[in-house]
C-alpha cells in the first residue's frame, strides 16, 4: 500500500470520513474499471462501484491491512459484481453493450506500433466480453488483477477447484478465439 493510502486508511478506520472520501478518490477509477470488465456495461458498473464503496465503508474496521487497500477493495467489487451478474442472469433480457468504448489513456510515440497494440487490445477486450459471465469473472480477476484462486473462489461463491477449472476454460477459449492454431480456425468456421 502506498504510504499516503496507508495513512488515509488509518485515519478512516479511526472515524475520519474525509479520509475515506480520499480513499474513494484515489481508487475510484480503478474500481470502476474492474467493475466494467466484470459486468460489461456502464450502468451496472456504476451501481456495483457505489455498492462496493458502501460495503467497504461499513466493514472498514474488519480490514486487517495485511494486503493493499486496493486489493481488499477489488475483492469487494468482485463480490458486488458477482451479485449483480447473478441478478442479471435471473432477469436475462440484457444485450451486450456493443457501444462500449475502451478509452486509451496512454500516449505512444510509434504510431504503427501504437495502432497495432490498440487493435490487439480491442480484440482481446471484445473476446473477453464474448465470454460467458462465469468464465470472464475468473479470468479477469486472476490474469488481469492477479487475485489468488482462494480469494476469487471466496468472492464469487464457488470452490477453489471450480475457479481453476473456469480459468482453464476461459484461457483456452480466449486463446482459440484470438490465436487459433492451424486447423482450429477452420473448425470454428464450420
Amino acid at each position: 500500500m502506498t504510504p499516503d493510502l496507508a495513512d488515509r486508511v488509518t485515519a478512516a478506520k479511526a472515524g475520519d470520513r474525509s479520509a475515506f472520501d480520499d480513499l474513494v478518490r484515489a481508487t475510484h477509477a480503478d474500481a470502476y474499471t474492474l467493475a466494467f470488465r466484470l459486468v460489461g456495461n456502464e450502468e451496472d458498473s456504476r451501481d456495483v462501484v457505489q455498492e462496493a464503496y458502501l460495503r467497504a465503508y461499513k466493514s472498514l474496521g474488519k480490514f486487517r491491512e495485511d494486503a493493499a487497500f486496493s486489493t481488499w477493495l477489488y475483492r469487494i467489487v468482485a463480490n458486488c459484481s458477482s451479485t449483480a451478474l447473478s441478478k442479471r442472469s435471473r432477469h436475462r433480457h440484457d444485450v451486450l453493450d456493443e457501444e462500449a468504448i475502451i478509452e486509451d489513456t496512454r500516449v505512444e510515440n510509434d504510431p504503427v506500433a501504437h495502432n497495432e497494440a490498440l487493435a490487439e487490445r480491442d480484440r482481446l477486450t471484445a473476446a473477453l466480453e464474448d465470454l460467458p459471465d462465469a468464465l470472464r469473472s475468473v479470468v479477469v480477476l486472476r490474469d488481469v488483477y492477479d487475485l489468488p484462486h482462494e480469494a476469487i473462489a471466496a468472492e464469487l461463491g464457488i470452490s477453489e477447484a471450480n475457479a481453476k477449472v473456469r480459468l482453464h476454460r476461459a484461457r483456452r477459449k480466449l486463446r482459440e478465439t484470438l490465436y487459433p492454431l492451424r486447423g482450429e480456425d477452420q473448425a470454428h468456421a464450420v
Binding site: 470520513r17 472520501d21 474513494v24 465503508y57 487490445r121 490474469d143 488483477y145 484461457r171
Partner: protein
Amino acid sequence: MPFDSAVSTPTCDEIVSLLSDYADGIETAPDNVRKHVDSCIRCQAELVQYRRLLRGLHNLRTEVLEPAPGHLTAVLAHLEAAGERSAVRSMLSGRRVAYVGGIALATAAAGAAGAVVLAGRARRRALAS
C-alpha cells in the same frame, strides 16, 4: 483412464489440455510435461500463444477507464447519506436507551417507595396490636 501428469508418458493431445494451466510458468509443470514441450513444436507454438494471451491480459491492468462525469460525486454523496442515516439511527437508539432506562429507574423508585410505605404500615400495625 485420466492422464496422470506426474507419472505417465504424456501424448501431445494430453499436454495440450494442460498448457493453459502452465502458461504462466512451465517450470512448475512435472518433468515429463516439460520434456514433451521441449521437444514438441506444436505444443511450443500453443504455449507461446498462451503466453501472448497472458501478456495481453496483464497489460489490461494498466488501462484505467474513466467513469462518466459526476459518478465520483454521486458515490461520495451516497456515502455521506449512508453516514447520516447511520448517525440518525445511533442517535435514535441512544434516545431509546435513555427512555427505557428512565422508565426502569422510575419504576424501581416507585417500587422502593411503595415498599417503604408498606413496611411503615406493617410496623404501625404491629405497635398498635
